[in-house]
């Protein structure tokens, strides 16, 4: 038995997988997590007004999705709807964050299979989007744009042009990346048929997001039309192979889909306010969910007419996807373990909270 993590060169976040080996073949695995548990559910329940900023701190990669999910849930409890302008801005920012998240995951897969140049190329293209969100929100990681009732930072005409220009710049770069990920023979040999996770397993392990779509499950919460997704046309990107290659290519194709969605949203931005005011301490219960880069993110919020919430529960996508490694690892070679682990895009901040 040998340990993979909690400190490992191929994966820097603290999770431990105990691997049972027969020579070089993995025959069993045990998952140990919790090295980074911060008690976020307790902290978020203390003050629902501060939580609209604190919930972004759950994760540094899908921070905006956390605050969108939280604000959307609180709006449902208040019985208000954010203006369409705010919904479109949220959609644009969420797709920007999907781009940065997927490019990070793709870079890590490339690095895990030993293709460091491609890792650098992914991070180079990612930087275009990171700089764009920095110009739009004033922040690279925690955008702090959402408030209950809409967004507190509007997107002006000059910024709309900036988004258009950046997407125009990024699209051919992503297409080039897509060509490399699709055709590179070395990458193909390290990813085709490795870390197999067939559809029945994906169903029973309740995986979400790109991990389940790469196993043939055509489910994408964006189809439910939260934020302004009902205003744009798109179809979930689904593959049937269920291996590292499929998970990688779903993310790669979703990057280009994000560019399409952002370009589709920009001309729809109407004039008008970007937020509505909410007053008083709300009472009620709601389930709110969004499609974060790693999959379905759900918040359960129960407010009791006070500053403190009665209960807030976060069901992050990584919480469902990381345990599925126990089904993917048996049967693989030891050298493939880093690639398989990274291919589920495990976020330990989200998993441990």
């Amino acid at each position: 038995m040998i340990p993979f993590g909690p400190q490992h060169a191929a994966f820097l976040e603290p999770v431990n997988v105990k691997l049972v080996l027969e020579e070089e073949k993995v025959v069993g695995a045990e998952l140990n997590q919790g090295y980074n548990h911060r008690g976020m559910e307790h902290a978020l329940s203390l003050d629902y007004k501060k939580s609209q900023y604190l919930c972004e701190r759950v994760c540094g990669i899908c921070s905006y999705h956390h605050s969108s999910c939280y604000c959307q849930g609180m709006e449902a409890i208040y019985g208000v709807e954010a203006p369409l302008r705010a919904q479109l801005i949220r959609t644009i920012m969420m797709e920007c964050q999907r781009l940065t998240s997927h490019l990070l995951a793709l870079g890590h897969i490339a690095e895990a299979v030993g293709y460091e140049n491609l890792f650098m190329q992914c991070f180079r293209e990612r930087e275009f989007v990171m700089m764009l969100v920095n110009r739009l929100s004033g922040n690279r990681v925690h955008y702090s744009m959402n408030v209950i009732g809409g967004v507190k930072r509007d997107v002006g005409p000059e910024q709309v042009k900036d988004v258009e220009a950046t997407m125009k710049e990024v699209r051919p770069r992503l297409e080039e990346l897509q060509r490399v990920f699709r055709r590179d023979s070395t990458l193909g040999k390290r990813t085709h048929g490795v870390g197999s996770f067939p559809k029945p397993a994906a169903e029973s392990w309740a995986t979400v997001g790109p991990v389940s779509r790469a196993s043939g499950i055509p489910r994408d919460i964006r189809q439910d039309g939260f934020a302004a997704y009902s205003e744009v046309k798109f179809a979930p990107i689904v593959r049937e192979e269920g291996d590292i290659y499929a998970r990688m290519m779903v993310r790669m194709d979703e990057c280009l889909q994000s560019v399409d969605i952002i370009e589709e949203c920009l001309p729809l931005l109407p004039d008008g306010p970007a937020a509505v005011q909410v007053k008083g301490h709300p009472t009620g219960e709601t389930f709110s969910r969004v499609e974060a880069p790693r999959g379905e993110l759900m918040y359960y919020i129960r407010a009791k007419g006070a500053l403190a919430l009665d209960r807030i529960k976060l069901r992050t996508p990584a919480l469902m996807n990381v345990p599925a490694l126990l089904a993917m690892l048996p049967g693989c070679q030891l050298a493939d373990v880093p690639g398989i682990v990274v291919s589920v895009d495990p976020c330990i901040c989200c998993t441990d909270r």
Binding site: Q33, G34, H37, G39, E41, H42, S45, L46, D47, E203, S204, W205, A206, T207, R219, Q223, D224, F287, R289, E296, M298, Y300, R302, A306, L307, A308, D310, R311, K313, R315, L319, M320, P323, L326, A327, D352
Partner: protein, 126 residues
């Protein structure tokens, strides 16, 4: 038994596996298990599913010392949710061990349990 004592539908607790399987057989996808301290000082367990792209749930209340059937053997995706409930609330699931997030003896026990004063009022607990 006095009228103030909470009433529990224990058949729901016993039938949790059948009800869970019923949702799965109907094509639902398990999303989450939410545990909360209810106003009467007991646990409310909410199993949340995605059914035909809509969220639905089944929920029941149990006294804190009630043991609940685990569904992790029929649905591996629920394993993490149950272990999390064991660690953070001290819910007892049959055959489910603690230690997913917390270390026995080192971490505060059942950190998301509320004191009764917090459940019944007060703005900021803790």
């Amino acid at each position: 038994m006095t009228t103030e004592e909470p009433q529990f539908d224990r058949s729901d607790v016993i039938d949790v596996r059948r009800r869970f399987k019923g949702f799965l057989d109907a094509g639902s996808r398990f999303i989450a298990l939410v545990v909360r301290d209810s106003e009467d000082g007991n646990f409310e367990l909410i199993y949340v599913f995605d059914q035909d792209e809509k969220m639905t749930d089944f929920r029941f209340a149990i006294p804190v010392d009630q043991e609940v059937d685990s569904v992790a053997d029929i649905y591996p995706g629920a394993m993490t949710a149950e272990r999390e409930a064991v660690d953070l609330f001290g819910v007892r699931f049959k055959g489910v061990r603690p230690g997913l997030f917390l270390v026995e003896g080192k971490s505060p026990p059942e950190p998301l349990r509320k004191r009764q004063a917090d459940v019944k009022g007060g703005d900021v607990p803790g």
